[in-house]
């Protein structure tokens, strides 16, 4: 009975929730559950990677020499940096620093764009080197077949990751717009917080992709052969 509806119903409280607290907790839980789903989505790719890496370890190590560790490393730094700016954006939303919020969101966008740009450069190198399975692929040596598997997985995994970045970028445009209009307050900024969770998740995926794809063959840099 004790319904709280009419007493204090802020504009941003949807009709079917009783309290702001309930709405905030619901949206946060919803986001976390969504991320759990994302873990399993990428999990399928990691499983495929695990299976073939364990079967064709040598070919994978050799094929990974064709990835650019420097660019990959720079991208890792950029992406972790963007996670920091995103975390700071959430901080500003929590503490009501409206202009800084916009600034940090823009910084996150910029770093995200830089990441995607470097990724595009890497993809282009692969295209020039004929290392894109299904489009242009020619790989020397006896491990060609299994190297193709490596590159298939490389493109599937980084491609899915990049797609998530692109979606994140689109969402950021929308968030920046809302933030400029001052839509977010210390009481109501679920969108910023939830987007932050999403962005950090994308960062975490990369934290695993980087060593698994770029670093596995470094220690025998002499290259291939077995």
């Amino acid at each position: 009975m004790s319904d709280t509806t009419s007493s204090s119903h802020p504009a941003h409280l949807a009709h079917h929730f009783d309290t702001v607290e309930q709405q905030r907790e619901s949206s946060s839980l919803g986001m976390w559950v969504f991320l759990a789903q994302e873990v399993m989505f990428f999990g399928g790719l990691f499983l495929a990677y695990l299976v073939y890496r364990s079967s064709y370890a040598a070919a994978f190590a050799e094929a990974s020499h064709h990835l650019d560790v420097v660019l990959g490393g720079i991208n890792t730094v950029i992406l972790i940096g963007s996670s920091l700016t995103m975390a700071l954006a959430v901080y500003c939303a929590q503490t009501g620093k409206r202009h800084l919020l916009v600034l940090f969101l823009l910084a996150t966008m910029l770093l995200g764009l830089a990441f995607l740009g470097i990724k595009a450069v890497e993809y282009h190198h692969k295209y020039v080197d004929k290392l894109i399975p299904g489009i242009a692929f020619s790989y020397p040596g006896p491990n060609a077949q299994h190297a193709q598997l490596f590159f298939s997985l490389y493109f599937a995994m980084t491609g899915m990751h990049a797609l998530h970045m692109v979606i994140g970028f689109a969402l950021l445009i929308w968030l920046v717009n809302d933030a400029r209009k001052g839509r977010f307050t210390p009481e109501y900024h679920s969108h910023i917080e939830n987007f932050g969770l999403y962005w950090h998740f994308v960062d975490i995926v990369w934290i695993f992709l980087f060593p698994l794809l770029y670093l596995i063959g470094l220690h025998d840099a002499a290259g291939g052969g077995h």
Binding site: A57, A59, P142
Partner: protein, 332 residues
């Protein structure tokens, strides 16, 4: 057997009775529990039918004793079934060491079979009664499944690797051979028959027909025409390891791992030799992927497996525990 209105398949192999006994046991359990539940539901429904709109049933919320009972009893029953079925499965899975190999290739939509003696058949398999036969199977295209209901055996036939089944026919006759894994347009036409014959009749059948070279002989011919013998010398001084007696051993690889030399390892080592190179050798062998077809590959395997052990020693080789007989499952 191709007519009438059967309710139960013929038992024509040594394992059929074991499988059927398990089946009858499970049927009995199913019959008992479905009758019990249906009986109780019907009895309660009649006995406690609503007699008046205002009646109030006695409140009963549950009974931990009963819950324990109907948790523990099913648990015990399923564990019994598990143990029993695992035992039957392992006997289906482990071929006797003396089983005669027959090589099977599935393709859309036919079965091609090769006997060691050289006979080749299509959609028909002749086997002797009373002798264990092991089918070493692969596919040229999609996944098929070799299924002989009367023998109660089945295994998927995959492209790119070998799988196997074994059986010992116990009753002469003709039995259905089905492809059980959906494989495209004429899936239901990928059928044939297995003819189980008395040993005498089987020998006659083997002797009849056009004179064929044995698989080993053809394999030896291929071995030489591909010049395998220039590197895989029997004295162990070639660029590749000597192959005499290698089948069934466990060997050390260059990367420190160990691998059992079974049909699938030999297959991979011919088609993509760089994947798992023996310790002490260089990856210099060319890949034969696309150069040998499945039948020729089977002949090469038959030849390599026929090579008797020699004095030439492999680095770090040890005899394997099992004779590599049922190792048809391997890495992708």
């Amino acid at each position: 057997m191709f007519s009438g209105f059967p309710l139960f398949p013929e038992q024509a192999s040594s394992v059929a009775a074991d499988v059927d006994n398990l089946y009858f046991f499970l049927l009995a359990i199913t019959a008992f529990f479905s009758t019990l539940i249906a009986g109780l539901v019907i009895y309660f429904a009649i006995r406690y039918r609503r007699r008046s709109e205002v009646e109030l049933p006695e409140p009963i919320t549950g009974s931990t004793k009963l819950e324990t009972l109907w948790t523990v009893i099913p648990a015990i029953i399923v564990m019994v079934i598990f143990a029993w079925s695992a035992k039957v499965f392992l006997s289906l899975h482990r071929a006797p060491a003396d089983a005669t190999p027959i090589y099977v290739v599935g393709k859309q939509w036919m079965w091609k079979l090769q006997h060691l003696e050289g006979q080749r058949e299509i959609n028909e398999l002749h086997v002797p009664v009373g002798r264990s036969v092991k089918l070493i199977m692969t596919s040229e295209d999609v996944i098929h499944s070799f299924y002989v209901p009367a023998f109660r055996v089945k295994a998927d036939v995959l492209p790119g690797r070998y799988t196997s089944i074994w059986f010992k026919a116990t009753k002469p006759g003709e039995y259905h051979l089905f492809c059980a894994e959906y494989c495209g347009t004429k899936h239901s036409g990928m059928i044939g028959r297995v003819v189980a014959m008395e040993p005498g009749a089987y020998e006659t059948w083997l002797g009849g027909g056009p004179r064929e070279q044995s698989m080993t002989a053809r394999g030896e011919f291929l071995f030489q025409s591909f010049s395998c013998n220039t590197c895989h010398r029997s004295d162990g001084k070639g660029r590749g390891p000597a192959l005499e007696g290698i089948f069934g051993k466990t060997v050390d690889l260059q990367n420190g791992q160990k691998v059992a030399v079974d049909d699938n390892y030999l297959r991979e080592s011919i088609l993509a030799p760089a994947s798992k190179v023996l310790a002490g050798y260089q990856p210099v062998m060319p890949a034969f992927q696309g150069l040998v077809n499945e039948e020729a590959l089977a002949q090469l395997l038959a030849y390599i497996k026929s090579l008797a052990p020699q004095a030439a020693r492999l680095p770090g080789s040890t005899p394997s525990h099992e004779a590599g007989s049922e190792r048809q499952n391997s890495k992708p």
